[in-house]
Symmetry: C2
Subunit: 244 residues, 2 copies
DNA sequence: CAGTGGTCTAGACCACACC
DNA sequence: GTGTGGTCTAGACCACTGT
């Protein structure tokens, strides 16, 4: 346990984070198998040469990551490493990229329109104000996977078709300096119309996953509204949840 | 701002939480409209009569709830109150209950079986060991909504059919002293078979939502595996996400 | 430059679980 | 009891953002 821990107090990375990573690595490496009881935090703080509040912050980070569980009067135990928080929210693009399926995007349209009553309501802008309307076809391994419709308030930024072909919308927004804060989404299902089936390489009546998502920035302003359909044969939503 | 705050230092509820709730209520009540910049935390701590670390912990709680945003060198701003973390993981039962649609459950079967290879793998128990297999039909407003299949390791606990008819499985587990820690789930879609359609009051080929969920306890042991189908006409998954 | 949140320390007391 | 994590304090220094 008490083996060589190297803390760099000159580093810009916080002490508590260095400590947390050290413990995390010990867990991941299997040095602390699941169920192991860690020393109490005062002892740990002494071993690692930090103050107790700093040690606590490190532990709180690990609890938040789901790696350990703490109980007053009992102690700190290591949870199974395979149980991990993940995903929570990521774009389809990121998902596919992560698993090595180089996703491709074809921009079907990228225009500026006057907001209809519906879209204005969803974006929280006046009816008739200019909005960006994007339609994309997402594929992986030359198979179509999803048709993505997005609306963004045009007063906030512009998105080039080229950029959309090479990266995900959220990636692009972040790089444009938009601070994403939160999102709400609804996942449902329905059957494909003939046109949708043709576009996604399915047959009419095939099951589709649907997702509507509204994303907000730090101010609580709507950044983006998306209305998407996915081939259920080729895609599903994976998520992990903590603190049930 | 500095109006009557009543902190009860004798209360078992922590100071930082009392402070957080006070600020939260001010935000909810509209006294601090969206975008409002809060005083800096030292000033706030002085106003409320607590130390700075306690004030910080209160603010961290509000950040975690998505109510405020903090930026070093800038300050703390109030986010739109309508943007809220919610749901994340809740059972269908809880969802329906919350919106006033008194859900009902009919237990189709509740047996103890020898684990098949598949189920044993999913639950992390030896093949052939006893497992609880539950099948339920969930309805709301006299309309069937979902068919729920669950497996639990029988060595851990027992669930009565009566209890299952009156409360959600997760509720029941919690009340049995099981500490739920995390879960992973996969949401997909497919079309209904004739039997499924009959059961859910749909027609053959209708779109269904599917969900598989594995829930873990504090030790990282599998508590429950569920395989569910939902009428897509009458149900969808709602979730909010923070820190995109 | 001044003002903000982020980090870190040293110490104290308390509530809870287990023996 | 004894040991654990949970709370709280008073103060210090630092990193970043804006002027």
């Amino acid at each position: 346990m008490a083996h060589s821990i190297t803390l760099d107090r000159g580093s810009p990375v916080p002490l508590y984070f260095q400590v947390a990573q050290h413990v995390e690595q010990s867990i991941e490496a299997g040095a602390l198998p699941r169920g192991t009881r860690l020393p109490n935090e005062i002892e740990l703080a002494k071993q690692l040469g930090v103050s107790r509040p700093t040690m606590r912050k490190a532990m709180e980070y690990l609890v938040g990551k789901g790696l350990v569980v703490r109980q007053r009067g009992v102690g700190t135990r290591v949870v199974s490493p395979k149980v991990r928080r993940s995903l929570e929210l990521s774009s389809l693009f990121d998902d596919l990229d992560a698993i090595g399926q180089r996703p491709t995007t074809r921009v079907l349209s990228n225009t500026i329109e006057d907001a209809s009553a519906d879209v204005a309501e969803l974006l929280g802008v006046p009816k008739g104000s200019p909005v960006i309307a994007i339609s994309r076809l997402r594929s992986a391994l030359d198979q179509p996977i999803a048709r993505l419709h997005n609306y963004l308030s045009a007063s906030r930024l512009s998105v080039s078709t080229d950029a959309l072909e090479t990266q995900g919308l959220y990636q692009l927004l972040r790089r444009s300096g938009v601070q994403l804060h939160s999102a709400t989404q609804v996942i449902g299902a329905r059957t494909a119309t003939a046109a949708e089936a043709r576009m996604l390489g399915e047959s009419k009546g095939a099951a589709l996953l649907t997702m509507q998502r509204t994303a907000y920035d730090d101010h609580g302003t709507v950044v983006e509204y998306g209305n998407h359909i996915y081939s259920a044969l080729r895609y599903s939503f994976h998520m992990s949840l903590l603190s049930i």
